[in-house]
Amino acid sequence: MLKKIIILIFVTCLACFNTVFAAESGGMPQLNPEFWISQIFWLIITFGILFIVLTKVILPKISDNLETRKSQILENIETADRQKEESQKKIDEYEKIILDSKVKAKNYFNEAREKILDDINKKRAALEKNLDEEINSVENELSEFRNKSGDKINKIAAETSAELIKELIGEEVNNSSIAAIVEDQAKISKERKDVI
């Protein structure tokens, strides 16, 4: 069966070749020199024109195009680089400015604070001084007053006690001894007060 099929295919192929090539006698048209000169002539003309036009007109344009593109791309890259650098510089400047202003603001704040603190301290000192002075003067006055009042009290006490004694006993007692006693008592009471 397989053999039969192969033989059949072979025979059909042969038949096909026969039908395909049957009409074409005379071999390859390529070897027929009838139109050789004409082909050479037209080849020279067409290829010559093609070569001349391409060389003189088209290829320079294309190479020009490529060159300009290349140079333009390079230029663009260069400008981009430059702009990048510039922007970097600007960013640096900006950051520097911000840093400076921050420092400045801090300084201003500190200065103002110190000034205010100074002012407050000065005023407080002045106030305290005034207060101290007043307290001192008042204390002085008070102590003076107290001292004076002590004497007066002693005197009054002596006089009163003398009169009391006169009334009680009907006899005059020596003023100076009464005064000494009063003074003693006052001293004792004063000491007691101080201890307390």
Binding site: F35, S38, L43, I44, T46, I49, T55, I58, L59
Partner: protein, 239 residues
Amino acid sequence: MYQFNVYRIGPEIKLGSVDISFTNASLFMVISSLAILIIFNLGAKKKTLIPDKLQLLSELSYSFVAKMISDTAGSKAKPYFSFIFSLFMFVLFCNMFGMIPYAFTVTSHIIVTFVLAAFIFIGVTIIGFMKHGLGYLKLFVPSGVPMVLLPLIVVIEIISYLSRPISLSVRLFANMMAGHTMMKVFGGFVISLGIVGGWLPLSFSVALTGLEILVAFLQAYVFAILTCIYLNDALNLHH
């Protein structure tokens, strides 16, 4: 083989006794050249920083060929850039237009490829002798070969050098012709096997079309790169 037939279009033109009539081959040469010129002119016209499609196409082809030349032949080959570019584009477009059904493939004719190859061969030889004088003959004497073998090697080198135009032209011509013939054969199979058995050769045909487009590009590339290599020999004399 009907697709390879050359026939006259329009009146017979005679230059003296030589027939230079406009044929279908000439028509497709003109079409290919015009297509190249139109596409690249449109691509080169606008000068925008961001290219559109046609501009991108033309610029990519430009840098592709420029890279190919600088890789194989170095910076000295820069003056020949436009020639190699036109050569590559011409062969590529002729091959590609040949892929259109009912179109004529210019490069499937040995005379066309041979004229191109012979022009390259003669040009490269002239450039080599202009750059190096008679020192260009050192190309046939590789260094580091024993004296006994030298005569043989020199003969082989000379033969290989002289066969360059033939190999260059036959490579392109044979590739194009073989591809188109194969597609024609498979197309014939489709017809003769009919609706029952024709699907297999049809799918082959489809696959072959893709392959042929690849070959069309590849052969143009090979043609151009071999030109670069020959030019490199002439310019740099590496042997």
